[in-house]
Symmetry: C2
Subunit: 149 residues, 2 copies
Amino acid sequence: MTSGPIHRKAKDYRWEGVAVLPYKEDGRALFKAITRQVLFSDPAQQSELRYFEVAPGGYSTLERHEHTHNVLILRGGGHCLVGREVRALATNDLVAVPPLTWHQFRATGDEPLGFLCMVNTARDKPQLPTAEDVAELKKDPGIAAFLRG
Amino acid sequence: MTSGPIHRKAKDYRWEGVAVLPYKEDGRALFKAITRQVLFSDPAQQSELRYFEVAPGGYSTLERHEHTHNVLILRGGGHCLVGREVRALATNDLVAVPPLTWHQFRATGDEPLGFLCMVNTARDKPQLPTAEDVAELKKDPGIAAFLRG
């Protein structure tokens, strides 16, 4: 019936029996100081719940894809870019990343930025921006400042 | 592309534009002092993310169903019954409720128990226990104490 224990205790944003993994395996992607934990990957559901933690000064990959992200900030705060919008994020804030929308999360404060991310288990591979895509984004001074960190 | 805003700010476990709803509409079900907020119901995903908050002394319905629950404690602590196991819960703990397994969450401390619950959007209706089911559960002294609150 069950594919795992019913209860996993948390301690300091780590969970019993949950591996702390590299953020991603794709060596082409630019990212910094970020870990990944898969909290739920339930074969009875078509979505997974992951926890990502970004150390101060770190960031996720700037990317886009067909699948959506549904994010809740679990720890600390920071900033995100979604599409052409830069937002300041605080604990418990929600962020929805629509399909094929550039996005990045940055830990811009003094403490780690930790967030839950709900995602389809079966999903397309992320697309990375070309130099032209980045140049286009940086025409917006707010986005340029965000990308500088 | 997007069915809602990209960013919803949180304040005191309430979110911009997210309604605070009754826990459930089923008048037959026994529950106490609990609210429901649907944080993500994304048509591009087959699972939803809800936030339930139980006031001190309150509890969710004792029930079971074919669909699974994947829970993260977002606020406070309490106790849960899953199957025949009673567990003390602290903030950020994970709980997985397998199919057709009796379960209940109780806010046994002095502060609210708030939890995220990931669930299939298309799901079967909960089954309520018969008097015989409850009597069977109460043969276990630990479960009996849990159900007394």
